[in-house]
Symmetry: C2
Subunit: 246 residues, 2 copies
Amino acid sequence: MEAKKNIETCYSPKLFNLFDKTEKLIVISDIFRATSSICAAFDNGAKEIVAISDKDECLEYKEKGYLIAGERQGKILDYADLGNSPNDFSKDVVKDKNLVLNTTNGTKTIKLAATDNNNVVIGAFVNLKALTQYIIKKDMAVLILCSGWKNHYSLEDSLFAGALANKIIINTTGKFYTECDATKAAMDIWEIAKNNPKKYIQKAAHNFRLKNLNLDNVIDYCMSTNITNVIPVLKNNTTLINQKDI
Amino acid sequence: MEAKKNIETCYSPKLFNLFDKTEKLIVISDIFRATSSICAAFDNGAKEIVAISDKDECLEYKEKGYLIAGERQGKILDYADLGNSPNDFSKDVVKDKNLVLNTTNGTKTIKLAATDNNNVVIGAFVNLKALTQYIIKKDMAVLILCSGWKNHYSLEDSLFAGALANKIIINTTGKFYTECDATKAAMDIWEIAKNNPKKYIQKAAHNFRLKNLNLDNVIDYCMSTNITNVIPVLKNNTTLINQKDI
């Protein structure tokens, strides 16, 4: 009998080194906003996205024709072409373009996972259904890495972890399970939130941060489920591409 | 108007340095079993408890007449007098005694908090009501530090954080609140669990670990609420005493 696959959740990048990554699919969750925005970008025809934190490296890529999507704590970087909201990545801006993503938390999280030929995929509510199907087909153990806020636990990223674990487990019969307390807690809060995730997430600290930055118009998109089939995966430890383009 | 006091929760000792500790009361949660056992010890008349991880230092205290309560991953240390289960700390063993506590996770967590004259108090379901009253009277911001399992998130420690935050907030009118996502999630799982916490916690990974060690007879005590009024607090960065003995 084939071994059942465990689903684990890491609530903070700072805890990531506690987890064994061998033969696991790492799903990155940064709902407000990096992973939602990455899905939007590929949905609108972006070719590739490179996660870079260093300014000089960003500028090198800019010289090569990459568009720079860059923010720190909600403010667009002076050398960036666009911000980090899903609506910045519209079709007229990103179609057939290569992009650099440089954000407060998401970029660091992607870079953290992007080593040792790890299997890395981008998760968000907007691609939840397609991602669930992709993971079930992959048939690997899953480690969901929540980006959080400056290494702190965040409600929206763990809520997504709970939603994803729930979908994977209920759509397979005994093939996946979890023995991870963090996943169990995340699934419990998803159980509370699932009938109205947009309402549930109003209490998240990041919701208030986005409101203060007048960026709360992105919440509706980021909390919408199943509006794109893109599966952004990491290639060569460096570059995100849509899995369909492989 | 007096400022409202925030309640924060730290899910792992490894995240503790992210939090500002100024003018906060730090509550340590290690439900299975250290903080439950500490409450049991004081309830049965122990005079003081010192948290020590180092073997040589433990032996020095043993020479001075301290009883050593010591375990690693559920096995009693060869130089220890007793283990780390609440029933090890019975009245005939601990009354009027000084103790050393040397455990896998709890001791490290206590030592982590026990610096800079931090205000540290021991929390468990068994002293939940008395602790809630103590905290409300103290009228300080609260930081609940979950001991977890080898720096991983644990369900029972965060469930206690949710229970405590819930009790503090509902027993005061607007004096306490939380803007911490980790506390909000903990309160949500407490909402699910509160009618039958013993049943809820059956799914916790540590429950299975205790069963494998034949230590699951402690779960009933550790998940019982309000069976003692002791408030173990830290004195001089080193020594736990019952607050009533100050």
